[in-house]
């Protein structure tokens, strides 16, 4: 039996999507934005206690100290859902220790809702329909990290979502959940028996992919161009306005309330363990946004570790390939991660995917699926154009290399290229951004992984497009040579 056939879902109820109907638990047609009044009522279809409703926040701040919350999230190995998969609890623990009176001084939380990676659209679902679950996670994270100001950085193209979040934040202020008086109308917290004030501000970006990189995002909040910063110093030490700053993804924070409510042991029973000794586990569920040539594209909440084949073929999820076509490949999760080849349909969607299947990583777990008719050279050209367009221009290898790659791939696609151009494209792809690091941020890495994996996994398509270069041997040598 193949590993795929034996796979069964461990989590039989929705967690993140408990208020957002998603297949197989509900029909997406029934979706609506859950405003505060509805959010305060426990959801009907929950399989895991009365989650959310700001009760998780109340329970957390009245029964646990900030350090206990961080410890709890650390035990849950809540890995970042924004792409890198760095454990959130670990990130929080990097903040400088509080001073003698228990405060950390001015420090910030920046929420990364700059979901600009092509093929990624999972955070939009949460912002569209369940904004308060995100805000509750933000409140818990701020309490845990002793933060009193949070910036919700949302990409400029999400006009509707920005309005939804703005209204949800306003609701929280009106009801005294946020504000100077302290969380939940000034509830006494277990932190020195004092209320904990919190301000959350929405900050709209303006159409720059690079602002999704954490330090680029900070620059953008400071009112500068979104040029990533050199690290160290890491943002946890010196971030926004040179203060200690934590940057978390929307989905990561949306996971926090249920972990606090149900415990880290409950969280560890979802998802899967790592098959590599010593590697952090892939616990919990994950929003997976499938697009491309499938019958039912959309966002699904699955256990981490679900094989891509199940995600595509199961009636619970995408219900097979569109028009019964054959699977040719899929972007692993956001184009930076590279492409899974035709023989990698059984890849498990967990944080180990990068080490097992020759892609960069899980990314945002949003695969775009290609059927047998897809022109992979065009796919590579499209991706190269994206990086050329979005390179911020700060580091030379990326600024120049992304343009060259795009030119080369355009030439290959048009049929005017020669065999040696394939080698040249690969050489450019492997010499920009790769370790030991010739660029400040990972954009060049994303570019080269995407182009390299496509060229390596579909070599015949590229070779068929180029003119053979014959190397004449033994002629044109000597005085008569031109």
């Amino acid at each position: 039996m193949s590993p795929t056939a034996s796979w069964t879902a461990k989590t039989t109820y929705p967690v993140l999507t408990r208020r957002i109907p998603c297949w197989p638990h509900g029909n997406p047609k029934d979706r609506h934005t859950v405003w505060l009044d509805e959010y305060l009522r426990p959801p009907a279809n929950t399989g895991a206690g009365t989650l959310g409703g700001y009760e998780s926040l109340r329970k957390t701040i009245t029964t646990m100290t900030p350090d206990e919350v961080v410890e709890h999230v650390k035990k849950a190995v809540l890995r970042g859902r924004g792409g890198a998969g760095f454990p959130a609890g670990m990130k929080w623990s990097f903040l400088p220790k509080p001073d003698a009176n228990g405060d950390g001084g001015q420090r910030y939380l920046a929420i990364n809702a700059d979901e600009s990676e092509p093929a990624s659209f999972k955070d939009r679902l949460l912002m569209d329909f369940d904004p308060h679950s995100v805000l509750e996670g933000i409140a818990i994270a701020c309490y845990a990290c002793r933060i009193q100001t949070a910036y919700f950085y949302i990409r400029g193209e999400y006009h509707h979502q920005a309005k939804v979040m703005e209204k949800a934040i306003r609701e929280c202020y009106e009801r005294g959940i946020f504000g100077k008086q302290g969380l939940l109308q000034g509830t006494r917290t277990k932190n020195r028996d004092q209320a904990w004030g919190l301000d959350v501000h929405l900050h709209r970006g303006a159409g720059a992919y690079i602002c999704g990189e954490e330090t680029g995002l900070l620059e953008s909040i400071e009112g500068k161009r979104g040029w990533p910063r050199n690290k160290p110093p890491f943002p946890a030490i010196k971030g926004l306005f040179a203060r200690p700053t934590i940057i978390n993804n929307v989905e990561t924070l949306a996971h926090v309330p249920s972990i606090m409510e149900m415990g880290w042991e409950w969280f560890s029973k979802q998802g899967c363990d790592s098959t590599f000794a010593g590697a952090p586990a892939s616990w919990g569920t994950k929003l997976m946004g499938v697009s491309g040539h499938v019958n039912r594209p959309g966002v699904y909440e699955c256990d981490l570790g679900i094989p891509l084949r199940v995600l595509i073929e199961s009636k619970d999820y995408c219900n097979g390939m569109r028009n019964g076509k054959k699977f040719k490949g899929a972007i692993a999760g956001g184009i930076s991660m590279g492409v899974l080849g035709p023989d990698q349909m059984d890849a498990e969607m967990d944080f180990d995917i990068g080490r097992k299947y020759n892609v960069l990583g899980l990314g945002t777990a949003c695969p775009t699926v290609f059927d047998e008719d897809t022109d992979m050279v065009a796919v590579a050209r499209n991706i190269a154009r994206f990086y050329k367009h979005e390179s911020c221009g700060q580091c030379t290898p990326c600024r120049e290399g992304s343009g060259w790659l795009y030119q080369l791939l355009t030439r290959i696609e048009s049929g005017a290229a020669k065999t040696k151009d394939l080698d040249l494209a690969l050489e450019i792809a492997t010499s920009m951004g790769t370790m030991p690091g010739t660029t400040i941020c990972g954009l060049a890495d994303g570019n080269n992984w995407a182009v390299r994996t496509i060229m390596n996994k579909y070599p015949q398509e590229f070779e068929a497009r180029v003119k053979r270069t014959f190397v004449p041997v033994g002629i044109s040598v000597g005085a008569g040579a031109k």
Binding site: S120, E157, A206, F241, G292, F386, C392, G393
Partner: protein, 181 residues
Amino acid sequence: MAWIVKNSAGMKIPRRAEPYLTAALKEQLTREILPRYEQKRGALLPTLHAVQHEWGWLPWQALEEVGAFLDVNPAEVWDTASFYEEFWLQPKGAHVVAVCRSIACEVCDHASITAACKSKLGIEVGQTTDDGKFTLVELECLGLCEGAPACLVDETMHLNATPESITKAIDEARSTQGGHH
């Protein structure tokens, strides 16, 4: 490409008497936005958004006014504004039709949507119609991949667009007032 900057030496800045950053806008920004940021410059993006929302684009004079308002050198305001694709430094049409051209939309035939927009509006990508009503652009991923091919008409998302549906959406937008984003 955010990093390509045109040579502006000897350029003349058209000016008008009344400011773009009006007293009402200033008052609103001072009350609501400035207190949110530890440093005044933090309010630069929200201020530019507010001015663009009011006028549809960001003229040079407006950038200078924003600089004076936030104690930022006008050159630095330009530096920031020119980096972000959504800030319009030339006038745009009253409505913006933005077709997504990224990977999921391309493999689901975004080209037919762009073609339909082009023939409907009679312009190429990046141009504005002569009556100043519509600007057509192609953007990188709009984050609407499950509904590929997708596009934005002003601030409204259109998923699973077809040449017919986008033509209809353009007609509907024409009958409404401009949506300045």
